[in-house]
């Protein structure tokens, strides 16, 4: 389906829209649990507080009937399918509720042989957007409370899902705040840009929330946890913090699908997705590659080609 041709731009997304997605997810989840297509479904359940939702690992029909989709369904659930969450799900085919941005992570994990497509039943969500952080969580999604990543979303349609829940709708005329911020930082003199990041990283408390929610941070031994010998200072101090975030940005280059979960969960408001997006831009320029659009055999940094650009070797 051509998403552009079906564009239905509106000024706000009413709760009814999400309710329709909710109904579709429940119906599908109940069906695949009942007919034992899957052993469980990873979806969202409502939180106690208004305008909140939590990831849920659902294995019964009763639970599946409580699944929801709302603008509070911010999490990228693909993290629950990774090695990092090994053992949480029973062995067997698993259902997962995935927005377009989450689908990119699934495609990336397939590229990296972490997942097999046939082990998944993907309930794709035709997602108009989710809430940003620290905004009013009322029923209606508007320009005022939509997440920064959603302002520039190019994957409203969950291409490649087994079923898609929802019909296409998206907010009109959103300011691309992140692109503007990227341009502002890019225009800075180098020293100023360095100071910008130093200031942000000085607040880092090394809670590792960025790593733990990232679908691609599935290493069983993270470099920054090593202490004999220590590769990156593990104490939360400016030098180690800087090293950690730069190492992570490098390791995600050509892999990060742009879900911006790391930025969302940072309790210290460090704009981490700017780093990931900058690396993605490099990959696009150097290799004409965008991570996670579809599963591929190998990403550009995992292979060697005779005609690779070698101009960086001095």
């Amino acid at each position: 389906m051509n998403a552009k041709a079906n564009k239905n731009q509106v000024t706000c997304i009413e709760p009814d829209y999400y309710q329709a997605i909710t109904e579709a997810i429940r119906k599908e989840a109940v069906k695949i649990l009942k007919d034992e297509t899957v052993v469980g479904v990873v979806g969202y359940l409502p939180g106690r507080r208004k305008g909140t939702a939590s990831p849920a690992l659902v294995t019964t029909v009763e639970e599946a009937e409580k699944l929801i989709f709302s603008p509070a369904c911010v999490n990228n659930l693909s993290v629950y399918l990774t090695k990092a969450k090994k053992g949480v799900l029973k062995q067997g085919k698993v259902g997962i509720v995935a927005k377009g941005c989450d689908m990119r992570a699934l495609a990336g994990l397939m590229t990296e042989s972490q997942l097999q497509r046939e082990d998944l039943f993907i309930i794709g969500v035709v997602c108009p957007g989710v809430y940003g952080f620290g905004v009013e969580r009322t029923g209606t999604l508007t320009e005022a409370n939509i997440a920064r990543k959603c302002r520039e979303c190019t994957v409203h349609m969950p291409e490649g899902a087994d079923v898609a829940a929802g019909t296409h709708a998206e907010l009109a005329d959103l300011t691309p705040e992140e692109a503007q911020e990227m341009a502002r930082i890019e225009a800075m003199p180098q020293a100023e840009r360095w100071a910008f990041w130093k200031e942000h990283f000085s607040r880092c408390i090394r809670c590792m929330a960025c790593r733990q929610v990232c679908p691609f941070c599935y290493c069983e031994q993270c470099l920054c946890d090593k202490n004999r010998p220590q590769a990156v200072e593990s104490s939360p101090r400016p030098a180690g913090n800087m090293a950690w975030h730069l190492v992570r940005a490098m390791h995600l280059a050509g892999r990060c699908g742009g879900c911006a979960e790391c930025e969302r969960v940072c309790p210290m408001d460090i704009p981490l997705n700017l780093l990931n997006r900058r690396m993605a831009q490099e990959l696009k320029e150097l290799y004409d590659f965008e991570a996670g659009l579809t599963p591929v055999d190998k990403g550009p940094l995992n292979q060697y080609k005779e005609d690779d650009d070698q101009s960086f070797i001095k």
Partner: protein, 336 residues
């Protein structure tokens, strides 16, 4: 007759304390977040929002050097940190959920091992708490036995009044001394009406009942149900006013380096990983269980206190929406 201080005089007090070379720490806007940071002037004080991290870091910093070492002429020289140089400090503008935490942590920090880094800072600090008239649906201080006007932990306690001034109660000798030394900033009077407190969504919890349930349900399906979604970061513990686990790392080289103490969290998989490779808390829900057990059972067993002030920070910050208040409510209503 209570003492009253106007908002301007509260800011003037901060200016004076800074001039007296005291370390004055209070809520301050730092980039896009409010944090407890050293105030350089009274105008820095920001009382609109609960700081993103708790005030425990005044006593228990994110990271601190505990010694340094250097090999000189073949001999290793170890330099201790001179704790006598820690500055006299005033923590100002901490709501009860933050001001109350040292009163809880003193017990463990001065137990069999005396943590002199913590204790020296405690001795040298005065806490000016402030009644909380803000709050959101994550707040649950009343549920765990505190309150928006709880004075526990504060040396001097301020209550915001409707006319913008504050009623002051000197709770301890330290608080009395602070007022006495700056008496001209305070006036005596009945004062205006106090500002109202915000209602909280979580009803008072029966902590005795919860503790009893925890005692009997170390193994329970609840743990998997609530905690399998935990992704194992340390956000909840790090921003918590009561969590106090730390790690010690030697950083530098074998000839020249620093021994550092820094925050650690029981949610991390490596927290209980033994050198042998065995990990007694091998899955995430066991780690999360420890968080609840430590706060509502173990700490009470040892020190007779609950290791939670109901600030709600972990609820707001949890990447996957784990809601400790909801979990406590669930346990509170359990029949067996």
């Amino acid at each position: 007759m209570p003492q009253i201080i106007t908002e301007q005089n509260l800011r003037n007090l901060i200016d004076l304390l800074v001039k007296e070379a005291k370390l004055v720490v209070g809520p301050k806007l730092s980039g896009s977040v409010v944090l407890y940071e050293p105030l350089t002037a009274g105008s820095d004080l920001t009382l609109d929002a609960l700081p993103r991290r708790s005030s425990k870091e005044l006593f228990f910093p994110i990271c601190e050097d505990i010694l340094s070492y250097k090999r000189e002429n073949g001999a290793m020289k170890v330099n201790d940190v001179d704790r006598s140089k820690f500055p006299e400090a005033v923590l100002i503008g901490a709501p009860p959920c933050d001001a109350g935490s040292p009163a809880i942590l003193d017990a463990v920090m001065s137990w069999d091992y005396k943590d002199e880094f913590y204790l020296e800072r405690r001795r040298k600090s005065t806490i000016v708490g402030i009644a909380c008239t803000k709050g959101d649906d994550a707040c649950f201080c009343r549920a765990v036995g505190l309150a928006p006007d709880a004075e526990a932990g504060s040396d001097l306690f301020l209550t915001p009044l409707k006319d913008g001034s504050y009623a002051c109660n000197a709770v301890t000798e330290k608080g009395q001394a602070l007022v006495a030394a700056h008496q001209n900033l305070f006036s005596e009077g009945a004062g205006a009406e106090p500002k109202p407190f915000v209602d909280q969504a979580v009803a008072k919890l029966d902590l005795v009942k919860i503790k009893k349930w925890l005692e009997e349900h170390f193994e329970d399906p609840l743990w998997e149900k609530i905690a399998d979604i935990c992704v194992g970061c340390g956000a909840c513990a790090f921003i918590c006013p009561a969590c106090h686990c730390f790690d010690i790392n030697d950083e530098g080289s074998t000839d020249d380096g620093v021994r550092r103490k820094h925050w650690d969290a029981c949610g991390f998989a490596k927290f209980t990983n033994h050198a042998s490779g065995h990990n007694p808390r091998d899955v995430q829900n066991k780690r999360y269980r420890n968080r609840i057990m430590h706060k509502f059972k173990y700490y009470d067993d040892k020190f007779g206190k609950t290791l939670c002030t109901g600030c709600g920070r972990c609820i707001r910050a949890c990447p996957v929406g784990i809601d400790i208040a909801e979990i406590l409510e669930t346990i509170n209503t359990k029949q067996d």
